[in-house]
């Protein structure tokens, strides 16, 4: 039996898209608020326009789901907004009647709203909030760099708040060594941190004046910012409490005045940590032991409870425990990177970024200026970061490197040799750590060098003679080897690499052949019957059988994308091979000419 058909008054109640979606003006009519209030409500409540399959009112409208509109309608925020609007009218009236005293009185008692319930509603767990933190942090970092302009209603107070929030965030990340990747791009500096297993990526602008173009609607931006400020405040609160630090941190006013907020925060952390975390730290080891015991006990219990044919769950449990330890190792790695390094920043390097990054990897850092922990004349400084064509006065005890050295070292997780980053040299390319070379297939030269260095650092074995290794070897070695022997070594390495390539290609070919045979088989079977092909595909990938048509299409699309990527990588490799071959022949030619 189908649905009973009811009488519907004309133009009142419909079914399908007409009933499910409303245009913006309809939504405003339902909610009985002004457009600006509606936009604010939408942003705060996380209600965004949708694209219905059938646009009943036409293509030029913005549609909202009726459920979303109802969701706003039942929020107390809506009532609050109306109240505020009514109150604004009162103030306006008082001002119009030149009743200044009343206006002042009213202004001082103006109602305001809080977003905590909205945040709790949108992010029921803390992890949810962390998952969505990319945009808030980026926005707050951006507004921390913007100029305060009255015309656009960007107040100085809010900008200060943004600065405070992002310093607090950076201080937490730096303190807990959660930073993982840094990439200096033209737009700004991309950071990636890992908090509670959530990867959070954000973009901090370079320390330069930002231009406010008129194509940006700052009302919208400020509303988003308002929500994000509140969210980041709560997140910071939670994070600080998780490491037993009181949240609104009380900073040394002297350091704050010197705009060294980050350092002030780290000092605050130190003080608080020593006071309150001493005990938990002591018990930390015993607690882990306890946990281990508990874990064992639970495992034993579970083994009894689980049926014999379900080992998967148990494996999962063990893996979970393992991953926790692994995460700890990652942070440990990060903590140890710049250990025992005392780094001093010159005037011209980006101070904020480096002050954030170096302590995040366990280094001690200072800068030129008042309030710095140690001065530039300190003998124990191991590295000085400079970014100028020449360095006049040089201490022999320290190395002078460009800021890129810090970022590259951080991305590679090893202390890179400082030679290529010395003052006045063109540093090697700054590679993006966000590109997975293995997945992409194409590995740039410098990435290969870094990989070899990493392998060397891990195994403590002398690195193989490779492409870029020679400039990383000790100078003594280089002298001993001499120029000619080095070129020979290089050629040998090249040969070796080519051999490897050929071998790999051969293996690939073999594999391809194997696959090709199988595909030919399939084709022959496919010709006999149109259905056979489908069956063959199904046999090849039984999971595909279970998928819906849409999903199957997607799966095929993904495969195609992979294939495309592979092709491109092949192309790049071939190009490189060609270039190398050309270079080689040229070299030989030159040699022949010389001799």
């Amino acid at each position: 039996m189908g649905k009973p058909k009811h009488y519907r008054p004309p133009g009142k109640k419909k079914e399908g898209n007409a009933a499910r979606y409303v245009t913006r003006s309809q939504a405003i009519k339902i909610l009985q608020v002004s457009l600006s209030d509606f936009r604010k409500l939408c942003i705060h409540k996380g209600v965004f326009p949708r694209e219905p399959k059938k646009k009943v009112k036409g293509n030029h409208h913005t549609y909202y789901h009726l459920k979303d509109v109802m969701y706003i309608l039942h929020d107390p925020l809506l009532e609050k907004f109306r109240e505020i609007r009514a109150y604004q009218k009162k103030i306006k009236k008082a001002k119009a009647k030149k009743n200044d005293e009343l206006a002042r009185l009213l202004l001082s008692r103006a109602p305001s709203y809080k977003l905590d319930m909205v945040i709790r509603d949108r992010y029921p767990t803390f992890v949810d909030a962390l998952r969505d933190l990319d945009d808030p942090i980026t926005m707050v970092h951006l507004f921390a760099m913007l100029p305060a302009i009255d015309r656009l209603k960007i107040e100085a107070k809010r900008i200060h708040n943004c600065r405070r929030l992002c310093h607090e965030w950076q201080a937490y990340i730096s303190r807990t060594h959660k930073l993982r990747k840094v990439f200096v791009a033209v737009k700004g500096i991309y950071y990636q941190a890992e908090v509670d297993g959530q990867k959070i990526t954000w973009l901090a602008p370079h320390a330069r004046q930002q231009v406010l173009t008129d194509d940006v609607d700052f009302n919208v931006m400020l509303t988003f910012l308002e929500f994000y400020e509140a969210l980041l405040g709560f997140v910071n609160f939670q994070l600080y409490h998780s490491i037993n630090v009181k949240y609104p941190p009380i900073l040394d006013p002297r350091l704050e005045a010197l705009a060294a907020d980050l350092y002030a925060l780290s000092r605050y952390f130190d003080a608080n940590y020593r006071a309150s975390v001493q005990e938990p730290q002591v018990t930390g080891s015993s607690r882990s032991e306890q946990e281990q015991e508990e874990c064992d006990l639970r495992l034993a219990q579970l083994q009894h409870q689980l049926p014999a044919n379900e080992p998967g769950a148990l494996m999962h449990l063990v893996q979970n425990a393992a991953s926790e330890i692994e995460e700890d190792e990652a942070t440990k790695d990060c903590k140890k990177l710049f250990q025992n390094k005392k780094i001093f920043l010159s005037r011209e390097v980006p101070r904020e970024s480096l002050l954030f990054v170096i302590p995040a990897f366990g280094g001690i850092v200072s800068w030129e200026g008042d309030g710095a922990p140690f001065t530039g004349a300190d003998d124990s400084i191991t590295h000085q970061i400079v970014d100028r064509p020449t360095q006049g006065h040089v201490y022999l005890s320290r190395e002078y490197v460009q800021p890129q050295w810090v970022y590259d070292s951080v991305n590679a997780r090893i202390i890179l040799p400082t030679e290529p980053y010395m003052v006045g040299r063109d540093p090697p390319p700054h590679l993006s750590p966000f590109i997975d070379d293995e997945a992409e297939g194409y590995v740039p030269d410098y990435a290969k060098t870094i990989k070899q260095l990493q392998a060397a650092a891990k195994t403590d074995v002398q690195p193989l003679p490779g492409m870029g290794n020679d400039d990383l070897d000790n100078s003594q070695n280089m002298l001993a080897e001499g120029y000619i022997s080095r070129t020979e070594a290089m050629e040998a390495a090249e040969k070796k690499q080519q051999m490897m390539l050929l071998e790999k290609q051969y293996h690939d070919d073999l594999k391809m052949e194997l696959q090709g045979v199988s595909t030919i088989n399939k084709q022959s079977s496919a010709e006999s019957l149109p259905d056979a092909q489908q069956i063959a595909i199904d046999i090849e990938d039984p999971s595909r059988l279970m998928m819906s048509r849409k999903k199957r299409g997607l799966a095929i699309a993904i495969e195609m994308g992979k294939q495309r990527k592979k092709d491109q990588v092949e192309k790049l490799k071939e190009r490189k091979r060609n270039i190398e071959a050309a270079r080689k022949s040229e070299k030989k030619h030159k040699k022949a000419q010389l001799s």
């Binding site: 996380g46 803390f126 791009a185 700004g188 009181k246 390319p429 699309a557």
Partner: protein, 551 residues
């Protein structure tokens, strides 16, 4: 009977008669009654008036109890049966209320938590969780909030990745330029012709109307004689004729049947073919569906669905030009429009519908952006693409694009090239020529080169060559040659000039423009032999046509 004598009413007697003594009478009566019944009750204490009857009258009690135990049918019907569940009139509302109450209780709990100095409250509790039911929010977009730029956008990129990113940026810009250039002309806002008076309009309309009427009349007049001439009498059908008709009909029917049978047998014979066709169709359909799914996915990755009146316009990627590559953070010219970047990201993820303002800057600034974005060593690439689009040589395009920018861009280019070629080749002519000449006016050498190379390609016959010269292309080319600073520009100018010089009249015009001096003053170079050949060719042409080339 005599009248009673009127007495005075003011006397004492009259006054006494008018006073009532009722209350006094009442009191006396009461007091006498009390006295008879044994004293006034008001003065007696309460205890003596009432007493509690403690004696038990069981029979009466039983009677009362019995009365009470008995349930009236009316009440018994209304009592709740424990085995039958009650049907609530509106369950939802009830449960809602409960939830609300629970929520309020929870809020109270939250508020009970001791507050910090800032008035902040751990909204997620200590374990980072609160047990409230979350609203299922559908993920709006698969685009991440912060997209990390490609490695070529690094402040100190490796050469290859930088080239890739640059090529991508340039190709995007050029696509915009070509779309502008080669797109159909907008409908003109004004139409040529004279303005018609209001009065004239009426006259015109009146004229039209009368014409129509006249036509109709004419038509009706024309029809009338035809109907009159039609023979009114119908001829009689003879038996022979009827027979003939019947036979004919039978034959036709038989033929049709035979045909049908034949078709059917043919169909049966070709059954495998039909099956194959159907299979093929199905396959086509599936492929089409697949293509659609893929393209939709790709589209969603790059831009949001259409959410409002305006289309989303992506912001250009931020790549350093090769001159700006310094390798030093200090000298880095960072992006200063990050606010726009964020705003675009909001639009891209579909959080806000794109606005007209944010899309418009693209078209306004595109040319400026273009000249900004293009670096010198990329010019050749761009020029090649320019040529591709004009000549629509697809094979060449594929090869070139593959070599330079890879697979994806190749696809885009192939698409645009064919699109552009099909749409605009018929119109390729004056319009494009004008545009190419106007390209020469631009100060940027790249655009000059583009214009020149296009002119060289247009100059295929005498008519077009003359046309170019008439528009002022010859003069501009000479100016370009004179002011060119690098060899490539010179080369392009010379190439275009030599293409023009194939027609005698054009040579004449060039001569009058002082071409020989300019050409001769062009420095010879050893690096590019072509410049030399072009130069000598041109001078030879002038010489052939007996112009004096010895200045």
């Amino acid at each position: 009977m005599g009248k009673k004598a009127k007495t005075s009413r003011k006397g004492k007697k009259a006054w006494r008669a008018n006073v009532s003594t009722e209350d006094i009478h009442d009191y006396f009566e009461k007091s006498t009654k009390d006295a008879f019944s044994g004293g006034s009750l008001t003065s007696v204490p309460t205890e003596s008036l009432f007493f509690i009857d403690k004696s038990k009258d069981l029979s009466v009690k039983r009677k009362i109890e019995k009365k009470r135990e008995k349930v009236i049918r009316v009440d018994s019907v209304l009592t709740k049966n424990p085995f039958v569940e009650a049907v609530p009139s509106s369950k939802q509302k009830n449960s809602n209320k409960k939830k609300k109450a629970a929520l309020e209780a929870k809020d109270l709990v939250v508020q009970d938590v001791p507050k910090d100095d800032s008035g902040m409250v751990p909204i997620w509790g200590n374990e980072g969780q609160h047990s409230g039911k979350a609203r299922q929010v559908s993920k709006q977009s698969i685009i991440p909030a912060v997209e990390v730029e490609s490695p070529g956008c690094s402040y100190n990129p490796s050469f290859e990745s930088h080239q890739d990113s640059l090529a991508q940026a340039v190709s995007e810009e050029m696509q915009k330029v070509y779309k502008n250039e080669l797109g159909p002309q907008p409908v003109p806002l004004t139409v040529m012709g004279e303005v018609i008076d209001e009065g004239d309009k009426y006259f015109m309309e009146a004229d039209d109307g009368s014409d129509d009427e006249m036509n109709e009349e004419n038509l009706s007049e024309g029809e009338d004689p035809a109907t009159e001439k039609r023979p009114s009498k119908t001829r009689r059908v003879t038996r022979v004729e009827l027979n003939k008709r019947a036979r004919r009909k039978e034959l036709q029917r038989k033929e049709a049947e035979a045909k049908k049978a034949k078709e059917l047998s043919e169909d049966i014979d070709s059954l495998p073919n039909i099956l194959q066709e159907i299979a093929k169709e199905d396959e086509e359909k599936q492929k089409k569906h697949l293509r659609r799914v893929i393209s939709k996915q790709e589209r969603l990755k790059a831009c949001p669905p259409r959410l409002g009146k305006y289309k989303f316009q992506p912001a250009p990627p931020q790549v350093l030009l090769s001159e700006e590559l310094t390798g030093s953070l200090r000298k880095l010219k960072g992006c200063a429009t990050l606010a726009r970047d964020r705003f675009k990201s909001l639009e891209k993820r579909g959080l806000i519908p794109p606005s007209a303002k944010s899309g418009s800057y693209c078209s306004k600034e595109s040319l400026g952006m273009c000249s900004l974005e293009i670096s010198h060593h990329l010019m050749e690439k761009v020029q090649i693409k320019c040529f591709i689009l004009l000549v629509a040589d697809e094979a060449y395009l594929e090869q070139e694009a593959e070599r330079k920018i890879g697979w994806l861009l190749k696809l885009i280019f192939a698409g645009t090239a064919t699109f552009v070629a099909y749409q605009f080749f018929p119109y390729m002519g004056d319009n494009l020529m004008h545009q190419s000449v106007s390209l020469l006016y631009v100060r940027d050498p790249l655009f000059k080169r583009m214009g020149a190379s296009r002119l060289a390609r247009f100059a295929i016959d005498d008519q077009r060559r003359m046309k170019i010269v008439e528009i002022g292309g010859g003069q501009e080319l000479l100016n370009m040659l004179g002011s060119a600073k690098d060899e490539r520009t010179q080369k392009e100018a010379l190439k275009a000039l030599s293409a023009l010089s194939k027609s005698d009249e054009a040579v004449k015009a060039l001569h009058s423009a002082g071409a020989i001096l300019v050409i001769k003053s062009t420095p010879d170079t050893f690096e590019d032999a072509e410049i030399g050949t072009y130069k000598s060719n041109l001078l030879k042409r002038f010489h052939d046509l007996r112009y004096d080339i010895s200045f």
